[in-house]
């Protein structure tokens, strides 16, 4: 809290200093002033850095949050609507990724042979920046919104796949032996022994995936445009509205934190103490 107050203080002081240091020179003739104006040096007008002060920021935040759902056409939508679009894309992409990555990771983790077979592909595909898939996605899918979802899918799939496979393959031998001596059916073993044993590792993978997906969606929406917080951010930059840009940055940070906290909570539910 103290750090926050200091930060606001420094911000305030730095914006004050720059906005008051130029006073209009009074010893110029009318012609000289006009000449200066033509040269683009607007005397008499206070020169600022253009960087908003904390008070302007607070006003902008208040204004945006007081009416988050307005919709004045494609270039002017409330922040909640933009966030909704982004979260929807992340949600769909992430869900698709879990539907594929977790069962596949399960199978790969259970079989050392499949693990070896899939490993080279995973190792090659994993380090590719999700945005590098964008042109391929745009060309094949031919729909910008779906391409955004695809990019989220492709970036969330790897951490989940790798963590699930790792979690499943490192389930304690003892627990598997217990299941074997009890002649537990494969399905029951998968759901009652392996899944709970690997759940913390799987959830870690999902948490990492969600973090990456939230990073990527902003960039993807900047590229694709149309809707979403990434588009909002870039649009406000084009409007040279720094308060809105800063506001968008703040919102992205807060939402990212909330998503991470949600997954931390899920992790807590499935974690067991040995």
């Amino acid at each position: 809290m103290f750090i926050f107050v200091i930060f606001i203080g420094i911000w305030y002081v730095s914006t004050i200093n720059t906005s008051t240091n130029s006073s209009p020179p009074s010893n110029l003739t009318q012609e000289q002033i006009e000449y200066q104006k033509l040269m683009g040096k607007d005397v008499g007008v206070q020169k600022t850095t253009g960087f908003p002060s904390p008070i302007q920021m607070a006003q902008a935040i208040g204004k945006q949050l007081s009416n988050p759902f307005y919709d004045n056409g494609p270039n002017d939508k409330g922040i909640a609507i933009q966030l909704g679009y982004s979260l929807l894309r992340v949600g769909i992409g992430f869900l698709l990724a879990s539907i594929i990555a977790i069962p596949l990771g399960f199978v790969i983790g259970m079989s050392p042979l499949l693990y070896k077979a899939f490993d080279p592909f995973i190792q090659i595909l994993k380090p590719i920046s999700p945005l590098a898939w964008m042109p391929i996605a745009l060309y094949t899918i031919k729909d910008s919104s779906l391409s955004g979802i695809f990019v989220i899918f492709i970036c969330s799939v790897w951490p989940m796949l790798i963590n699930t496979a790792f979690g499943v393959s490192s389930v304690k031998r003892d627990w598997l032996n217990v299941a074997m001596t009890l002649e537990v059916s494969p399905l029951r073993k998968a759901f009652q022994v392996i899944l709970p044993a690997a759940a913390p590792t799987i959830l870690t993978g999902m948490r990492i995936s969600m973090g990456i997906a939230w990073l990527v969606i902003v960039a993807a929406e900047m590229l694709v445009g149309g809707t979403g917080v990434g588009y909002f951010l870039w649009n406000e930059w084009n409007n040279l509205s720094l308060t809105s840009v800063l506001f968008a940055v703040l919102i992205i940070g807060v939402v990212g934190m909330l998503l991470d906290m949600a997954f931390a909570q899920f992790q807590k539910w499935v974690t067991y103490v040995e």
Binding site: M180, T181, L182
Partner: protein, 289 residues
């Protein structure tokens, strides 16, 4: 199986060497027959070879030997979790081919599922044994076995909230709850302190005697073996002297003739206890050199 010799006998008789393949009673086949079992990881250098012994119904057999002599491997072969390189195990007229509900295993590290409570851990085993039981049937059965090891008050606790001894009790209750034909215990008390170990040993004796359970147990503790076992199998390690390799295996099989009602506290007052104990300790020290 108990009265092979009179209650009070000389040391020599207590330590009577048995070669089971020769002296096994001919009239009826023993419950478990281990025949010429051999395990090697490197060909021609088996860890143990030609292991033969039998376990009768209701008999408590302990196996003692130094680390690395293959005790756990033999137990895993009996459990069906491991396979022998040669030889076979016959239980109740059938060869042991894989894990089965007929053999309950208590693992050294208790192996309870930490995400289940005590009740769920045992219910998991009971449900595997009798998949068609209703939940109330399962609950009564679970509660019966939990109270058998005296943990009724902790039935809803997670294993992490229990002490080491309590966890091992749950492990024992789980193995008993499926009412197996044979119980296999892999150093169940190895990680416990002496006091707890004593209490659980007494409990185990009580339960085994009440249920006439057939038990095969690995131990490092000579007193534990003397207290619990009807028959003690001594194993020797494989040795390599001047390039000549000798496989490990069963060195001796002793039958314990101390009175069956022996108690831990008065064990050392019994006639023949020291002879038996010294014999085993001498053996364990002897093979080291």
């Amino acid at each position: 199986m108990w009265n092979e010799s009179p209650d009070r006998v000389s040391a020599a008789e207590i330590c009577s060497h048995e070669n089971m393949s020769k002296t096994a009673p001919a009239q009826e086949a023993p419950f478990v027959q281990v025949q010429s079992l051999c395990k090697y990881y490197v060909l021609d250098k088996p860890i143990f070879a030609d292991v033969n012994f039998t376990i009768n119904k209701g008999e408590f057999v302990c196996i003692i030997g130094h680390s690395g002599c293959g005790k756990t491997t033999i137990l895993n072969v009996l459990a069906g979790l491991d396979t022998a390189s040669e030889g076979y195990v016959i239980m109740d007229g059938r060869e042991v081919k894989g894990p089965s509900l007929e053999r309950g295993v208590v693992f050294q590290s208790h192996a309870l599922m930490p995400w289940f409570t005590v009740r769920q851990n045992i219910a998991f085993a009971v449900k595997s044994r009798w998949p068609k039981w209703s939940s109330s049937q399962i609950n009564t059965h679970v509660e019966k076995f939990v109270s058998m090891v005296g943990l009724s008050h902790s039935i809803e606790k997670k294993p992490s909230e229990l002490s080491g001894g309590m966890k091992q009790r749950v492990g024992i209750a789980r193995a008993f709850s499926i009412q197996p034909k044979m119980l296999l215990l892999d150093e169940p008390f190895g990680a416990l302190d002496a006091l707890t170990r004593g209490t659980i040993q007494e409990e185990l004796i009580g339960i085994v005697r009440d249920t006439h359970q057939t038990v095969f147990m690995i131990t490092h503790d000579v007193d534990e073996a003397i207290l619990l076992a009807d028959k003690i199998v001594l194993m020797k390690n494989a040795t390599q002297v001047d390039g000549s390799y000798t496989a490990g295996g069963v060195a001796e099989i002793l039958s314990n003739t101390l009175p069956k009602s022996r108690k831990r506290a008065e064990l050392h007052h019994l006639d023949g206890y020291y002879e038996l104990r010294n014999h085993i300790v001498d053996f364990l020290i002897g093979i080291k050199h």
